[in-house]
Symmetry: C2
DNA sequence: AATCATTATGAAATCGTTTACAAAAATCTC
DNA sequence: GAGATTTTTGTAAACGATTTCATAATGATT
């Protein structure tokens, strides 16, 4: 309600002095500072952020652009981002794009219009390509997906290695015919697929195209892909999915076909969720350090806001293999 | 980059005319309108929302204040709110308060400072009490929790009746000694508890304090409460929890005690989640129309923004009982 | 064609800050 | 205590839109 003008009048000073007190400038005599502080308190003055932003040509707001906040991975990230942003006095604007490049582009424009200080996003291919050239006008940090030769800060998982370890876990437990259901439209799915294939080769097996599916990262897609795999003339002994949505769909399919885990089929995936430990047997998976990812991304972003010219960084975090369920190796029945 | 001034200059008109074109005012001749539109396109002009907000003393931003976005109920709500807000040209600011009244108050102030058009929130008791008097300066819609005599728009579930139906489902399947683990610090938990007690009485049973627990709405709290209940000298035959986090904790406890569902113990809850249908046997529950809640809340909010003096409304939505698992009634073994 | 009513346009104020610059006050130096 | 130096303060111009009010242009009416 009260503006800086009224504070100035109440304290018998100019608005400039009030502003200086607000900014903790050293160039204001203690006596005046006291008077201003008193006036601020009495009038319950709070600076108008809009006015401040207009003047500064920048807000204390950051954007988080994800495909769908209901994906547990992004839910966890968003919590970390909000926590970290809040600590630094920033607010968080949330956007869902459903992996739609058009929506991504629209939201990036919204962000520009809103004068955000920066954006954390997980772009699809086309948008990622655009990011390489596009002068956005705000800081950008990419998470979850790598953009090969873009000069942008990134926070990523060691996807290839994580998928390798996850696949190896299956192989070491006696599974050989392993199928992979991967999220399409992102480097992440491809990288994880690469790790899966590397592991197969390392164990003397040949990846076959028949057992690898790229689908939209949704429960229904995972369900459909898994059904098709299970109905193959020679069905796989194990399923690897690259995120929790696909895993949920795959598990549904397994249930529908009445297959017993882990005897008749195994299921491993990425991303820890509430349900992964609640189903029986619990699911072995690669846990991503989601909170760390969100926190790191926010820190990188705010550092770049403070210092736009600093060299870009690419932080790679390690996934953690959580082995669950009976650890007894599988008895091959072939 | 380009400002309204440059557009005006390029079109050979005043900024006022450009502004009128932007606002679709009828008071501008077609010839001029064309020129302005052309200049806008050529300069790729986009109005600066900050400047607009400063002038209008209001942004096109709304706030969503929840305890924790990672609670699947709020995750789903947030998606609906964002979708609906976006359709109307509004952006969404997300805040997590962890049920902490202090944080709620801080975030409400942040919202005021940010000049949001309105806020959707799910307040704890103290904040709810404050809302009754507090002149916030922006529109407010309360979700999930009722504030008895406040003059605020609300979107709620028929908690008492839903809990009644959920409990009745247990009773009709032969369960008699039913315990309830309820979320504390909200009217919602209390209302659901009331419905539970009503159902018991309707079936000639007396609610006992020993079987009702109020705990923070977290997995760990649900786990701990469930363990204590299961370890009672005379343990319950069924557990009812009032949200999915408590249910997850309770299920963990059930697993830890090695009890078989539904023969040795039953579990029912509120809130549909991915895992509720994936665990075996799947969980019977009351599904809240989360998307509808979020959408309705946003609509109410934006209507109030447009027309601040309209009478407040209280929308009550119905929960849906999803019966799952073997529907064979329980054979009492007592 | 002159008058009046109506519509279209622009100049300038405004929203609430910050900050460059100038002026005033305090401090220092001899 | 006068002058030079430093520090403190205030004035006023931004930032980029919208809108009031006055004026200019148009159209209608005789």
């Amino acid at each position: 309600m009260a503006s800086i003008k009224e504070v100035a009048r109440a304290a018998g000073v100019s608005t400039a002095t009030v502003s200086r007190v607000l900014a903790n400038s050293p160039h204001v005599r203690p006596a005046l500072r006291e008077r201003v502080l008193k006036a601020i308190k009495e009038l319950e003055y709070r600076p108008n952020l809009i006015a401040r932003s207009l003047r500064a040509q920048q807000t204390t707001t950051i954007g988080l652009i994800v495909s769908d906040i209901r994906n547990p991975f992004f839910t966890a990230i968003s919590r970390a981002v909000e926590d970290t942003a809040y600590e630094e006095g920033y607010s968080l604007i949330l956007c869902n794009t459903d992996e739609d490049p058009k929506k991504e582009s629209i939201y990036l424009n919204v962000m520009r219009d809103a004068n955000v200080a920066g954006v954390i996003l997980s772009p699809t291919g086309p948008t990622a390509a655009g990011l390489r050239e596009l002068e956005t006008g705000f800081a950008v940090v990419v998470i979850d997906r790598s953009i090969p030769d873009a000069d942008v800060d990134m926070v990523l998982l060691d996807n290839v290695d994580s998928a390798y370890r996850l696949t190896r876990h299956l192989l070491e437990n006696g599974y050989q015919r392993i199928a992979a259901i991967c999220g399409e439209r992102s480097t992440t799915g491809r990288e994880r697929c690469a790790g899966y294939e590397q592991a197969l080769r390392a164990y003397g097996l040949l990846p076959t195209a028949e057992l690898v599916r790229f689908v939209p990262p949704q429960i229904e897609a995972g369900y459909a892909a898994a059904l098709r795999l299970l109905d193959l003339p020679e069905p796989p002994e194990a399923l690897l999915t690259t995120n929790s949505l696909l895993a949920a769909g795959a598990l549904e399919a397994i249930r529908e076909r009445g297959l017993r885990i882990p005897d008749e089929i195994a299921l491993v995936t990425f991303d820890e969720t509430t349900w992964a430990s609640l189903v029986q047997p619990p699911i072995t998976l690669i846990e991503q350090p989601t909170y760390e990812i969100g926190k790191t991304a926010t820190e990188l972003l705010l550092q770049r806001v403070a210092e736009p010219e600093r060299p870009t960084r690419r932080v790679i975090l390690k996934g953690r293999l959580l082995v669950r369920g009976s650890s007894a190796p599988r008895v091959r029945c072939g």
